[in-house]
């Protein structure tokens, strides 16, 4: 199939985050992460456990915008928190800011005491990062998001976890950041962010220019792979026929 769009590359890059996870709960926050988790469930990892985003485990992934299908479990918020503490979960959160050291902020911009802009609050980010494998999705890679130091640490980076001790590092497992420009991991110096691939048509320099700190790059940096025909068919025909993905990542 031809004419692969950026949003389709992103969806497969996100799906790849969950490909090796086995039988765990995929918790995507937001539209493209939801598409990616459902794509992984349909292709690379049928053992993945997915939910309707409200309170049900679904046996088969529904299209975006729908949450119906065969139910295989009940997952109200109290049980989500049980799974967080118990461990078998890989969450992909958003990030209003993320810094070189891998700390994420969804709490507030500016000084916490009286923020310039109040956001959601820390939600489950602190607990997610010390309990579960954690990835992030950034729909618009920019110097506003990728900052030297976040204003409030919600999600905990490696250095901060190490400073807090073994209780914080024992299950700490930052995995990937997928953006509209590329894919990063946390294998830089001391757990710093590191660019591992750029999407087709994106140069490393484009990513550097959109990053507010001196970005490390992997020695074997690659171009993010394009979706297979099977994946494209799953995205276009089954999971997102209404092309909602284009709203978040325009072509």
């Amino acid at each position: 199939m031809s004419d692969v769009t950026r949003s389709e590359v992103v969806a497969t890059a996100i799906a790849d985050c969950w490909a090796q996870d086995g039988e765990i709960f995929a918790s995507p926050m937001g539209l493209l992460p939801t598409l990616g988790a459902r794509l992984a469930k349909m292709t690379s990892n049928p053992d993945l456990v997915i939910s309707d985003g409200e309170s049900l485990f679904l046996a088969a992934p529904p299209p975006l915008g729908s949450s119906t299908g065969v139910v295989e479990g009940w997952i109200p918020f109290a049980k989500v928190f049980d799974v967080v503490a118990n461990g078998p979960r890989h969450v992909m959160m958003g990030a209003t800011q993320i810094d070189r050291a891998g700390n994420q902020n969804i709490s507030a911009i500016g000084p916490f005491a009286q923020p310039k802009r109040q956001l959601l609050g820390s939600r489950g980010a602190p607990g997610n990062t010390v309990n579960n494998r954690t990835s992030y999705w950034v729909p618009k890679h920019s110097t506003r998001v990728f900052v030297e130091q976040v204003d409030v640490v919600s999600g905990v980076g490696r250095a901060r976890a190490e400073a807090a001790g073994t209780a914080a590092t024992r299950f700490h497992d930052l995995h990937r950041v997928v953006t509209d420009l590329g894919v990063l991991d946390f294998q830089g110096t001391g757990g710093a962010l590191r660019l591992i691939s750029t999407h087709p048509g994106v140069e490393v320099e484009d990513v550097r220019a959109a990053t507010g700190f001196d970005l490390e790059t992997a020695d074997d940096i690659t171009t993010t792979r394009e979706p297979t025909d099977t994946e494209l068919m799953a995205i276009r025909e089954v999971l997102d026929p209404r092309r909602l993905r284009e709203r978040e990542v325009p072509s």
Binding site: F77, F112, P115, G121, P126, G127, V156, G165
Partner: protein, 293 residues
């Protein structure tokens, strides 16, 4: 001699009459879902102020913050769900009009309620370690495990009990004694709030007789036992404009009206005059009138 337990039905105003300024009040539901909004509206009509509010925050927090009733807010998030950011909460934070906030991780928040429910001073949790939740709440303490683990003695967050003077909840059905069912997708943490509170007041869509609670409903949906409940209010539409599935879904149109009005003092004054100036019956009538437009 009657073997029936006591009748706890009361009015919204009677509930508010049992609350006092300065109290710590837990509010059930989640975000913009199954919030005890009729009780919140009744607080807005009262003189209650200086409150410490503990909530999975939604428009309950927004309305109380806008009205200046909150001295201290304990939260992990405040959101309208379909509208991610709660505009009154945002404004109160950005303008510095809420004297004190305690922003927690969700797991810490739940752990604090659990500690209170179990009458413990604290419970250990991993959540919060390494984050600015600890830095922004410097009174929070850690505790070293007395036990040797695979990686030594772990130092965990000692999450203090979130003890509540009162909990306000909205469920679908109750009997007059306080046994209550939720019929929607998620119990949220309403039972935990009830156990963490010295007194619990529950408003419901409908009061039915005890047998009616389980006539067409699995017994597992009985979330609250009357042991935990001090007052029952029949308040149809009492969660409006938040969702109360399956009785009604969130009134998205009304919520948008609310959020739009929040952006400007004049628009908010008009919203208050139209919807919040009268009693609960007047509110429900004004909502119906908007629906007819």
């Amino acid at each position: 001699m009657s073997m029936r337990p006591r009748d706890k039905r009361m009015s919204l105003e009677e509930v508010v009459g049992q609350l006092e300024s300065g109290m710590t009040i837990g509010i059930g539901g989640w975000g913009s879902r199954r919030k005890p909004m009729a009780l919140i509206r009744a607080i807005l009509r009262s003189d209650l102020t200086d409150l410490t509010i503990v909530s999975w925050g939604g428009p309950d927090v927004g309305l109380l913050a806008r009205a200046g009733r909150i001295r201290k807010l304990v939260y992990a998030f405040v959101s309208l769900d379909s509208i991610p950011l709660e505009p009154h909460f945002q404004a109160a934070r950005q303008n510095g009009t809420m004297p004190e906030v305690v922003e927690l991780d969700e797991g810490m928040f739940q752990t604090g309620l659990r500690a209170a429910a179990q009458r413990l001073p604290f419970l250990p949790t991993r959540a919060g370690l390494g984050s600015d939740v600890m830095a922004n709440n410097p009174w929070l303490r850690t505790i070293e495990s007395p036990y040797e683990g695979p990686e030594g003695r772990e130092t965990l967050v000692a999450m203090p009990a979130l003890e509540l003077d009162a909990a306000l909840l909205h469920l679908n059905r109750a009997d007059s004694h306080g046994n209550a069912t939720y019929l929607g997708p998620d119990p949220y943490f309403d039972d935990l709030f009830a156990m963490a509170a010295a007194r619990t007041y529950v408003s419901v869509e409908q009061v039915v007789d005890t047998a009616g609670l389980t006539v067409d409903t699995p017994v597992q949906r009985l979330l609250l036992s009357r042991m935990l409940v001090h007052g029952v209010v029949e308040a149809p539409g009492g969660a409006h404009f938040t969702s109360c599935t399956p009785d009604y879904e969130r009134d998205e149109r009304f919520q948008r009206t609310y959020a739009e009005a929040a952006k400007d003092d004049g628009a908010w004054a008009a919203f208050e005059a139209r919807f919040l100036a009268g009693d609960e019956a007047a509110y429900q009538a004004a909502v119906r009138e908007l629906g007819d437009e």
